[in-house]
């Protein structure tokens, strides 16, 4: 049947709703996909199914009362959110933080980065069809990190650990021993993932060369975090605008080559190795002193505004706080990294197959709590 005959066969596009409840949309994301057979013609995203009006709440909470809400913005990397919010408020008040608190914050934030990347990798492998086995391996490692957090601040997922000007409790005795054991336990596990997944023929076939994100497009969509670095842009806030004690830590930034789904996955694995190095160095150089906060719960902050961005596992999390002198922030804008990372999904996905939408979505590692705030 040569080309001329196929032209007059009337084919119709096939609209599929990958609706808010779908096994691999990482939460409540609604994708309206127009298909021509298996090939994606057009894909529109609908978000807002988890919009909990965080910014409206922020205007009715004092600075300390809002800290538990930051845990629930990116509920997989709560420590990094706390860190982002608290450093933003400290920058607004230009408050000095005790040295030990800075080191504790770095250790805890990097451990949470590993936990978040583990989930990112586990769900990515699950989306490619390796049903539950890699995900449960990643969760088995993540449980070890959660045990450490359980001992440090008593909760598994939403820690509410950091305060403005320091942290809530000092590290419990013998915790550095547990962390060292975890580091020793985790390093060979990362090599296991390489053998199980990274160089697996089917995994490569499914993710190499899919959803290639060129460097200029990534910067134009203000993508950040592992997705940007996978496209070859060496940009990491911990190195560009070092906050806390990151300038004392020496770690290198893994950079991908051609920015496809496999590179984004590989960058996350390398970043976990770097985070282990950071935790090791920070643990070694942990100074003495009292990291807890003595200041009262209600701080009146002089009118002014400040914008602080920190390196979240998913990208640059920015807090733009405007204060009008009262104990309540006048305006608090949360710049979520996944919000911009998801914006380019329709662009990446045109022309790919149905199975590739899920692969690209998994490689971007988005999180609906952060997008919908």
């Amino acid at each position: 049947m040569n080309m001329s005959q196929t032209k007059d066969i009337r084919t119709e596009e096939f609209l599929i709703n990958m609706g808010p409840q779908h096994p691999s949309t990482h939460g409540v994301l609604f994708l309206e996909v127009k298909l021509d057979g298996e090939i994606v013609v057009d894909c529109t995203t609908h978000i807002g199914y988890l919009h909990r009006s965080m910014e409206k709440i922020a205007e009715n909470r004092t600075y300390t009362q809002f800290i538990p809400f930051t845990d629930r913005i990116d509920y997989v990397a709560s420590m990094n959110n706390n860190l982002g919010y608290v450093t933003a408020v400290e920058k607004l008040m230009n408050l000095e933080v005790p040295e030990r608190a800075k080191y504790i914050r770095v250790i805890v934030a990097e451990l949470n980065r590993i936990a978040s990347h583990l989930i990112g990798i586990g769900t990515f492998a699950q989306d490619l069809g390796a049903f539950a086995t890699p995900l449960f391996y990643c969760f088995r490692e993540r449980e070890k990190i959660i045990d450490i957090f359980d001992r440090i601040c008593g909760n598994r997922l939403t820690y509410n650990y950091m305060r403005i000007g320091g942290v809530q409790f000092d590290l419990p005795k013998g915790i550095d021993e547990t962390i060292k054991q975890f580091i020793a336990y985790m390093r060979p596990k990362l090599d296991d993932y390489d053998t199980l997944l990274t160089y697996n023929a089917i995994f490569l076939a499914r993710s190499k060369g899919i959803g290639v994100l060129p460097k200029s497009l990534a910067i134009d969509y203000s993508v950040s975090g592992p997705n940007l670095r996978a496209s070859g842009v060496r940009w990491d806030i911990r190195k560009e605008e070092p906050y806390l004690v990151y300038e004392k830590m020496e770690f290198d930034i893994p950079v991908g080559v051609n920015g496809d789904a496999w590179d984004r996955y590989k960058v996350r694995i390398e970043e976990m190795r770097q985070s282990l190095r950071i935790v090791e160095q920070a643990l070694g150089a942990l100074p003495e002193g009292d990291p807890t906060v003595k200041a009262g719960r209600i701080q009146k902050i002089a009118p002014g505004e400040a914008y602080m961005r920190t390196e979240n596992p998913r990208g640059e999390l920015g807090f733009y706080i405007v204060s009008d002198g009262s104990t309540y922030p006048y305006r608090l804008k949360i710049r979520a990294p996944s919000f911009s990372n998801l914006a380019l999904l329709p662009e990446l996905v045109k022309g790919l197959k149905v199975a590739d939408i899920i692969c690209v979505l998994g490689s971007l590692d988005i999180l609906m709590g952060e997008i919908d705030r």
Partner: protein, 321 residues
């Protein structure tokens, strides 16, 4: 000549086979959940009977009680018939499978040909389920299933022809008898054939890495998205019976059926079959899923040519002998 005796024998054989299918399906479902659990370093069903042994029975009882929902604009007849087309062919195949020296329901002289003809009827069941449930996901799943099973039928049948040529007869008992001295898999020219058979059998039974039709992550639950209650259980039982059949055929053709040193033949046959089933379960819980076009390319560009070349080699070897 249908005497009363042969009729009674056939009746008992039928009931024995049906009983065996039900028990083996239940056992396989339970076994898969335990194997997958231990691969993922967890326990699997424990609370329901000793080590979850009664889990499949509980699932069956619960599925019996479920309300049977039919979508409003579903195609009634096709929707209602689909589960039967998924299960009945896989039950009919048991007629020709040689469990033991004399323990075969009916030793057809066209054994393997009959099995191939019947087992390709399952495709129609999957297709009808996809079309009947008037749901976009199942339609996509049904289309994919049709394309996949048909395109993997070719290398499957070619590899079986190679075995039949070597054994000289399509009857299953005689194929097993011909492997008395040395199992087929150890013949040099048969090794590639058995690998081709294993791969295309995985695709035939829709198991990862070829489980495109009911891919959890893309299509919500593939062709049986709209089925609930007993109809869904029929698909489930059909899938596991197919898995057992494919393993049984593999043992008959390549691993020497019921041949084995001391244990009685039936035990040997079951050990080999369940060992192969374990390999498939092991594969299912470790490999990611292949994309549809890669799957098609692999079938047409790699497996079929390899099967044809192998056929030529077997033919040439037979001529030379």
């Amino acid at each position: 000549m249908l005497t009363a005796l042969t009729f009674i024998f056939m009746l008992t054989a039928a009931f024995a086979v049906l009983g065996f299918i039900a028990v083996s399906a239940m056992f396989l479902i339970w076994w898969e959940r335990k194997v997958s659990a231990h691969i993922q370093s967890r326990f699997g069903p424990m609370r329901v009977g000793w080590h979850g042994v009664l889990q499949s029975i509980a699932d069956a009882v619960k599925l019996l009680l479920k309300e049977d929902i039919r979508p409003a604009r579903a195609d009634k007849l096709i929707w209602w018939l689909a589960p039967f087309f998924a299960v009945v062919p896989s039950v009919m195949v048991f007629v020709a499978i040689p469990f033991g020296r004399t323990l075969v329901p009916r030793d057809l002289n066209i054994g393997i040909l009959y099995i191939m003809a019947i087992s390709s009827v399952c495709v129609i069941g999957v297709f009808m389920a996809g079309w009947g449930s008037n749901n976009k996901y199942s339609l996509l799943g049904g289309m994919r299933a049709g394309a996949q099973i048909i395109s993997y039928e070719l290398p499957l049948v070619l590899s079986i022809i190679a075995v039949v040529m070597r054994a000289g007869t399509p009857s299953m008992q005689k194929i097993v008898a011909s492997q008395g001295s040395c199992w087929n898999i150890f013949h040099p020219d048969m090794m590639l054939v058995s690998v081709i058979y294993m791969i295309s059998a995985t695709a035939e039974v829709n198991r990862t890495p070829f489980d495109i039709p009911e891919a959890e992550s893309e299509l919500v639950a593939g062709f049986h998205t709209e089925y609930s209650g007993m109809k869904f259980a029929m698909f489930f039982v059909g899938e596991y019976t197919n898995l057992f059949i494919v393993a049984a055929i593999a043992t008959t053709l390549f691993l020497g059926g019921w041949h084995g040193p001391i244990l009685p033949p039936v035990v040997w046959f079951l050990i080999k079959t369940y060992a192969l089933v374990f390999v498939w379960m092991w594969v299912r819980w470790t490999f990611p899923r292949v994309r549809v076009d890669q799957l098609m390319a692999f079938a047409w560009k790699v497996l079929t040519p390899a099967a044809l070349v192998n056929l030529a080699i077997v033919g040439w070897l037979l001529l030379k002998r």
